[in-house]
């Protein structure tokens, strides 16, 4: 494809690739290397997060059961091999924090966005490559800090037993306040519960580092997209992935500072005895608290959810952009309603800033503002519905090629519908009263921001693996992975809605123990459903090993990828797989058409590259 590219001036202007191993692979400023680093970080995190959920499902399905391997893995936290209340809660807190920050925020944006945004707009790199490198390494530090909050004890024991004596970390478990870290539970320190001392300090530090890294990343994304587009790459010729990454970056830019502010206030309450969130007259664990007065616990929730709701869209928007991109590519059809899709992304991003209160209907905030938040919340369903309709419109009349990335993109649409539509229940103040903080909510947000977003990541991985690593992934294994995962996640999360209706509360280490007859009697009917969900979770987790095998096998023995194996149109498919250090070999590409010109009448093939100067030019918009 290089022959189509028009150099802007006679000389070719190249960046030499770094030669030393460290500059090339570790402290690289190449957006592609950084993208892959982010992607691996997310891959590691997702398996950690999944491992934690496996332990949680063990406990929920068979509460109080003894598991020998737990004694080995967590000698102090699970010394009897059973999962205690605090241990369950620290699993839960780590699962949420790892998944939300280090998987859902990291892979779609930091991973794929970093690798492909510059290439898709025709740039040689991000606007600020050194900043980009710093973003990654700060994220990495944040992950290390978070992991240390949870594994410090196990690591100390491991070293003591097998290598040399280190001071035992004591009974360290991670923080137990959930990923939302509601104050004052999170602000009162160890007296409010095990893990709330050092655990919370490490947790907040990790989140603060993550905020800073995300802000640097967002700054980079926005500047790159505004300033570094190739000649001819007008805004309405951008692939929808770029619009999604851009909007995500704007959301991150405006919401992470608020979380950072909340984190700073929390750490001050926790360690410097200030009273931002801690009210006066507290009596905790048998002792009167005298050093705090007048703080507002609800203020934490406002600050947290002002960030937390846009965060949901930070997780899902890149998946939405990618789904549009992949559906069009493999349906061999232009995206239906490109402009509507762009505006819908904006609308979701904008409305996302005005709905945070729907997490707080029963928190004690003003019942009038609850109504206002509820009304705005349901309107956010409109742009979401527009996206769904347009995806169906894109498939309608297509010539669908059922590759693995396409299957995951179709799965994304299905899960987006399943997970999104239950928001209609939760967004209504009245119905939220019985459903709030139950498994209905757990099922809802896992389907939409957990699994749908993960399907977006799988789609992206199968789609772009050839470009990133120069090898094709195995299609047979990929399809098997899709089938098992799609069936599995539905089997896990749809029954959870029923549990929630029955009143099964979230964040309980045990609801009803059929062996001892302890717990909530009204939930005794839920035991078979709970066990079914646990078993479905084990099967689905096991199915992810297929993905891991496919990755390793394809990397080593996969078929070599050509420049454009999917016959797709955007700029990344005009350069070799994997791309050279400076992407376009110093020659600025020139863009002549929109990104989804498939099956153009009168064209010689069923797709026209964005750089194709010849062939009918049909502008988007009508």
């Amino acid at each position: 494809m290089a022959d189509v590219v028009h150099p802007i001036h006679g000389e070719v202007h190249r960046h030499p690739a770094p030669t030393s191993f460290i500059r090339k692979y570790i402290f690289s400023t190449d957006h592609k290397v950084i993208g892959i680093q982010y992607w691996f970080l997310a891959l590691f995190s997702v398996f950690v997060g999944m491992g934690l959920s496996l332990l949680m499902r063990l406990q929920l399905g068979w509460p109080g059961q003894e598991w020998g391997f737990l004694k080995t893995l967590f000698p102090t936290a699970a010394e009897n091999g059973t999962i205690s209340g605090e241990f369950y809660l620290s699993l839960l807190t780590m699962h949420g924090t790892v998944m939300v920050f280090f998987v859902l925020t990291t892979a779609p944006q930091g991973g794929f966005g970093n690798f492909f945004l510059p290439i898709q707009i025709g740039a040689a790199d991000m606007a600020f490559p050194v900043l980009n490198m710093m973003s990654f390494w700060i994220t990495f530090m944040a992950l290390v800090v978070l992991m240390s909050a949870f594994f410090a004890d196990s690591i100390a024991h491991f070293l003591n037993d097998y290598f040399f004596d280190v001071a035992a970390a004591g009974n360290v478990i991670g923080p137990i306040g959930g990923w939302t870290g509601y104050a004052p539970l999170s602000a009162l320190g160890e007296r409010a519960g095990p893990g709330q001392g050092m655990g919370v300090i490490l947790w907040v530090t990790s989140i603060a580092l993550f905020c800073i890294a995300s802000l640097l990343g967002a700054l980079n994304f926005i500047t790159t997209m505004l300033n570094m587009r190739a000649k001819g790459m007008s805004l309405m010729r951008l692939p929808l992935t770029c619009w999604a990454w851009f909007t995500t970056a704007v959301l991150a830019l405006l919401s992470f500072p608020v979380l950072l502010a909340a984190g700073i206030l929390l750490i001050l309450d926790h360690t410097a005895d200030t009273s931002f969130f801690i009210p006066g007259g507290e009596y905790v664990n048998g002792k009167l608290v005298t050093e705090h007065a007048g703080g507002s616990p609800i203020m934490w929730q406002h600050l947290f959810w002002f960030f937390g709701h846009p965060e949901v869209y930070i997780a899902i928007l890149p998946g939405m952009g990618l789904t549009s991109h992949i559906l069009s590519t493999f349906a061999r059809k232009p995206v239906f309603g490109y402009r509507a899709m762009v505006y819908a992304i904006f609308a979701i991003g904008l409305l996302g800033f005005f709905v945070w209160g729907h997490h707080m209907f029963i928190s004690g905030m003003s019942p009038y503002s609850a109504i206002a938040f509820s009304l705005v919340t349901l309107t956010i369903g409109v742009p979401s519905a527009i996206k769904t309709f347009n995806w169906l419109g894109t498939l309608w009349g297509g010539q669908i090629r059922f590759t693995t990335p396409m299957l995951f993109a179709i799965g994304f649409v299905s899960l987006f519908v399943s997970g999104g539509i239950t928001g209609l229940f939760l967004g209504q103040t009245s119905i939220d009263i019985p459903l709030h903080d139950t498994y209905f909510v757990v099922g809802h947000f896992h389907l939409i921001m957990g699994v749908a977003a993960i399907f977006g990541m799988f789609a992206g991985t199968y789609f772009w693996f050839p470009k990133m690593f120069g090898k094709m992934m195995n299609e047979g294994l990929g399809k098997l992975h899709f089938l098992l995962t799609f069936i599995g996640v539905n089997a896990i999360f749809i029954p959870m809605h029923i549990m929630g209706m029955a009143g099964q509360t979230r964040r309980y280490a045990s609801h009803w123990n059929p062996a001892t007859g302890e717990g909530l009697h009204y939930l005794s009917n839920m035991v078979p459903l709970t066990r079914f969900v646990s078993i479905a979770a084990f099967v689905t987790i096991a199915a992810q090993l297929i993905f891991l095998v496919n990755l390793v096998w394809s990397w080593i023995k996969g078929k070599k990828a050509t420049e454009n194996p999917w016959e797709a149109t955007s700029l990344e498919w005009t350069i070799p797989s994997p791309p050279p250090h400076d992407n376009f070999a110093g020659i600025e590409p020139e863009v002549h058409r929109g990104p989804y010109e498939y099956s153009v009448p009168g064209a010689s093939k069923d797709f026209l590259m964005q750089t194709d100067a010849e062939g009918p030019v049909i502008e988007h918009g009508h």
Partner: protein, 234 residues
């Protein structure tokens, strides 16, 4: 002749300017060439054209996030300061303002004037005046920080610490966050000043001066806002 802009080297985050690289061909083009790429001089690439612009965009984008940080803290300040909003009993004791804050404010305002004078001087290629004004700005910036430290010491001497009461908590928090951001500005100014004293003001460093002055004015405005919020908002 071809310019190799190794972007790996020394790009300072936030203030952005290539560190220690050669300016194209030893000549010192003051402004990036305008117009179509065909008219660009040899050795001047697309990247050279987008460089200054991207630092400006990056700075405005960065300022947006800093603004959000302080907006979030402002909302916390208002919620905490108005008993009806926080629901708790009122434990708000207004802080006695350390007098030196007036001096600090004046110094910071002056620094905004001097950085503007420096920028104008540079635009007219009046190097000597530029050097003078930019050095003075750096000095003003550093004095402001010292002044803030003195204000802290004065409060500490009265026995007012971060955990004394909500107003003191916010005072220490907001002044230190502003101070950290301002320190970044002082470092950027120091960098530009050193470059100026060594006569190395190519058009890239002119971008650094421009971008730093945007940041500096913002920090100045932010301080005026915080000063008003902390001591005159009721």
């Amino acid at each position: 002749m071809s310019t190799t802009v190794t972007r790996d080297a020394g790009v300072k985050p936030g203030i952005g300017a290539g560190g220690g690289q050669k300016d194209p061909g030893g000549s010192d083009p003051f402004e990036p060439p305008q117009g179509d790429s065909k008219d660009w001089p040899p050795g001047f690439s697309r990247e050279d054209a987008i460089e200054p612009e991207k630092y400006r965009i990056g700075m405005w984008v960065g300022l947006a996030s800093i603004l959000m940080l302080f907006i979030a803290l402002t909302s916390a300040y208002i919620v905490r300061g108005v008993p009806a909003l926080s629901g708790g009993d009122s434990d708000w004791i207004p802080l006695a303002m350390p007098r030196i804050l007036w001096v600090n404010t004046a110094v910071l305002l002056l620094s905004s004037v001097s950085i503007e004078l420096a920028r104008r001087a540079l635009k007219k290629n009046e190097y000597d005046r530029f050097k003078g004004w930019i050095s003075l700005t750096t000095l003003f910036g550093a004095s402001f920080l010292v002044g803030q430290l003195i204000a802290w010491r004065q409060l500490a001497a009265q026995g007012v610490f971060i955990n004394s009461h909500p107003h003191s908590s916010f005072f220490y928090l907001l002044t230190s966050l502003h101070g950290v951001h301002l320190l970044g500005g002082v470092i950027a100014l120091a960098y530009v000043t050193v470059a100026a004293l060594r006569m190395r003001i190519g058009f890239k460093r002119r971008t650094a001066v421009d971008v730093t002055s945007i940041y500096w004015h913002f920090m100045d405005g932010l301080w005026i806002y915080l000063f008003g919020l902390l001591f005159f908002f009721r």
